[in-house]
Symmetry: C3
């Protein structure tokens, strides 16, 4: 027997940077524990923030992400036309497309089947962002 | 009761750049209106064009994408070996992998559950591309 | 009638670079042949290697990927803090997020419905990596 579970999660406002949100996601959709085989989809309803899966242990990884990506896609790029929402807006859109707007994670025996060093990042690219809204959709075969 | 709907969509030929195709996709698979909870998958069958979700309102966003990404991954990069299909070919392959070959969008109550500023982009990276073929697969629990 | 098939695949150790693994994936989950309409999900359980779909014919494409991406996200970037696992570690994390940690490929009539020039790449970003573990999840409506 298969079943869908779907909910929306509003995160607290986060500063620009890369933030681990694995626990918040798992807590928001505890029904994944009932799924034997399936997956969880995480979707972000915004175009200036994004999701990705990366290293979950050392905070310097997330700092280095910020330093490098902010230099690769800089606010002061002189040819941007779309600047009226601020210098951080257009870089945020480009970063959002280089990272992910959705993740699909396998579920096996009631847990997210990720590697032990993997965590889910919320990548916040705006300097003064409001809170971000996610859609969580789990689907799978229920444990009997 | 769950159901699959799958179809292929051939887009018209588009010039190099970033193009909003949300309406064309929704029109090609109207069965999403019958789905209460599920998702739509959009898959592109090419390696020199891509998909992404980004800002759907201001065309300058899509212009800035082109300016910036063309400069980041330039045609005149001197170390490319794979050049016999033209100078735009190898940059197109790299851009295609930095963007997405597939999108998965949640469906809630018969509509794509995206943010109000989100739209689906076809990212055309070749200068003289032929038309592009998409596979659209919707799956979900039907409204009762 | 719908069904899930899920298995894990440990790849052989691969050198840094971009490697075609379409055949290995198809061989590891032959049940896709029983699926009329559905999809295969490929998930990598690591944060310093990644997946992508790109050109499957000319090996110079994969060489050019390596040359270009290694120069775009260089080992000698002077501001990286997370360096104690070696100079190739932090660039590997960033590359992993620019590429994909998971792919979702439509299945139609028992085969992966990709374009004829598309193949699945394992992108190995570490110089001396151990073998990599994938989770393969196929789901769909069975052929009657």
């Amino acid at each position: 027997m298969t079943q869908f579970f779907q909910t929306e999660l509003r995160l607290r406002s986060l500063p620009a940077g890369y933030h681990l949100i694995t626990d918040e996601i798992e807590n928001a959709i505890p029904e994944i524990r009932a799924i034997q085989t399936g997956y969880l989809q995480v979707f972000i309803k915004h175009t200036s923030a994004a999701l990705t899966i990366n290293e979950n242990a050392d905070p310097t990884v997330r700092k280095d992400f910020r330093t490098f990506v902010d230099e690769l896609i800089p606010e002061n790029y002189p040819k941007f036309i779309h600047t009226y929402e601020g210098p951080d807006d257009m870089p945020a859109h480009i970063k959002a497309s280089f990272f992910d707007s959705q993740l699909q994670i396998p579920i096996t025996n009631g847990v997210l089947n990720m590697g032990i060093w993997q965590g889910i990042y919320l990548c916040e690219f705006r300097t003064h962002a409001s809170s971000r809204q996610l859609v969580l959709t789990a689907f799978g075969e229920l444990s009997s």
